[in-house]
Amino acid sequence: MTRRIRSLVRNFWLQLTVFAVAAFAVPWVVSSNYTFHLLTLSAIWAVLAVSLNLVMGYAGLLSIAHGALAMLGGYTSSLLVLDSSVNFWFALVVGSLVAALMGLFVGVLTLRLRGHYFAISTLAFGIVVSLVLEKWGTVTRGPRGVTNIPPPAPLGPLEFATNRAKYFLIVIILVVTLALVRNLVQSPFGRALEAIRGNELVARSLGVDAVRYKLVAFTISAAIAGVSGTLYATYINYLHPSDASLWTSFFALLYVVIGGSGTLWGPVIGSVFVVVVPEWLRLFDEYRQLLLGLVLILVITFLPGGLMALGSKVRGVVKRWRRTRVRAQEASS
């Protein structure tokens, strides 16, 4: 009986349903506008974190370009909507495609190389993106940023003008993303990725075209990142070149690592944790950064599985403690 309950609890689709229901109930449960705002933000960043986790957690590729890729999507869609009166939904897709193409470009150049080349090249790419967004003023509006980004266009009877409606849209996209990534990871494609992360040489010798798999994973991940950027733009109504800076990418990394990289729910838990908890503590920005930096180092050192691994870690510690206590009693008796 307990085994059946346990397998039910571990069923992803059940988890996803519970998560979706809980997330949809949030607007009626949370009374404070500010907390609601934070939860909306963490849902947006969760989409980005889930996309980063696909390459980082499952393929073992450290990308420091995801913030830039996201904002590339956000800028593309917002400028299309504002300056070319393109329909929002079409612009969302185009933004996502542009991010995917840039991801493909960076991937083609760097994924052949082993080690840290990829991470550093994505870093450089991110810098160039925010630089171009700032300097190419005639198109991107430069350092003034893009203002008055409209809400998503209505879909039939569905309107998205209010924050609540935008929140529902974001949650739906998050749920779809989670389902998509879960299916990818469970497919032969996902297993090949994990094989590559575990030991690329062995995976190659078994006939896995490692470079191609990584390239496909990174391109898909970039496309999802582009969607998260559009969600951010249309929720905040404003984009600035600094949104594409290193820090956005870095925070995405933080969400994944603190939540638990290589797990399906880790990035979601990480985004909620990192966005909401420091706010409860009411810290100033610089103290929050200090705290996050320390937490990051501590988590990577003592809890590499992130918050997702907290349960089993605690259980392990308790077990060991009990064992030593029993041994001590035996020795004394």
């Binding site: 450290l62 190389l113 171009v132 320390l294 180092i297």
Partner: protein
């Protein structure tokens, strides 16, 4: 011609600073295989150390520079023991992430302790300069290049000729083998991190009288240093130094003849070209 020389002089000066940090990155990567991303923040701390010693306590600039080097050697060694050493058996990606965490801690720590104000250090050589083929170059800029070259030469000789240097090379080539022949690997690794801190501190302290001192001054510096170490071939010191000067010159020439706005992007364009055409780096060998 004047513009060319002036820009080249600027480029070479900036390139020297890049080269110092990149040499630290290459050295640490060569020995520990850790991409030490926090080295930029260490350059920033070095600049603050020089500022407080020089402007705060009125000490001589050169003495302040030496003090800053010493202080950052200690910080480099301590952070290695606390942050990187515990991760020695973890996947390489973890050390990279920890280096980011360290950067965050050091930068926000500096922001909390020193505030966001831009601080200036007077040049020890005043605002005098020399005329060079029609261009005017201040002595401080000449100094940056000269000190860099001297430091790099000394470092290279130390690594090549001394006992400590050969230990470093041994650990870089094969940590297990080094342990077998009786080298204290952990000590060599800690010393390498300290050395990286010294190089970063010198870079920060040397650029401080030309630029300003502020908590995020190391960000672009470290990103460029990383790109340079790729250009030079990861872990190659000579590559890092030549790469640094080339990077500085490319930036300056790009700013002069193509577009000032995109000055910071030209080096990255070179990176893309190198990755596409010669992925092992300009100086990278076939090993590793």
């Amino acid at each position: 011609m004047e513009i060319l020389v002036q820009q080249l002089a600027n480029g070479v000066m900036l390139g020297a600073i890049y080269a110092l940090v990149a040499a630290g990155v290459a050295l640490i990567f060569g020995v520990l295989e850790i991409p030490q991303f926090a080295l930029g923040a260490m350059a920033m701390l070095g600049a603050y150390a020089v500022y407080f010693a020089n402007v705060g306590f009125g000490l001589n600039y050169w003495f302040s520079l030496v003090l800053a080097g010493g202080a950052l050697a200690v910080i480099g060694a301590i952070t290695h023991r606390l942050v990187f050493h515990p991760l020695r058996n973890a996947p390489g990606i973890n050390a990279f992430i920890s280096a980011f965490g360290l950067l965050l801690v050091l930068e926000s720590g500096a922001l909390i302790l020193f505030g966001a104000t831009y601080r200036r250090i007077p040049s020890p050589l005043g605002s005098e300069g020399i005329r060079l083929l029609g261009a005017y170059v201040t002595w401080q800029r000449v100094l940056v290049v000269v000190v860099t070259l001297v430091v790099v030469l000394i470092l290279q000789q130390v690594i090549k000729r001394t006992q400590a240097g050969s230990s470093i090379r041994a650990v870089a080539q094969n940590p297990v083998g080094a342990r077998v022949v009786g080298i204290d690997v952990v000590r060599v690794q800690t010393a390498t991190m300290a050395l990286g801190g010294v190089l970063a501190a010198l870079a920060g302290g040397l650029i401080a009288p030309i630029a300003s001192v502020y908590p995020t001054m190391g960000d672009t510096l470290i990103v460029k240093a990383f790109v340079i170490t790729i250009l030079g071939g990861m872990g190659s010191m000579a590559g890092a130094i030549v790469g640094g000067f080339v990077f500085g010159a490319v930036e300056a020439l790009g700013a002069a003849y193509v577009s000032v706005d995109y000055k910071d992007a030209f080096g990255f364009v070179v990176l893309v070209l190198v990755l596409a055409l010669r992925p092992e780096g300009i100086f990278g060998g076939s090993e590793s």
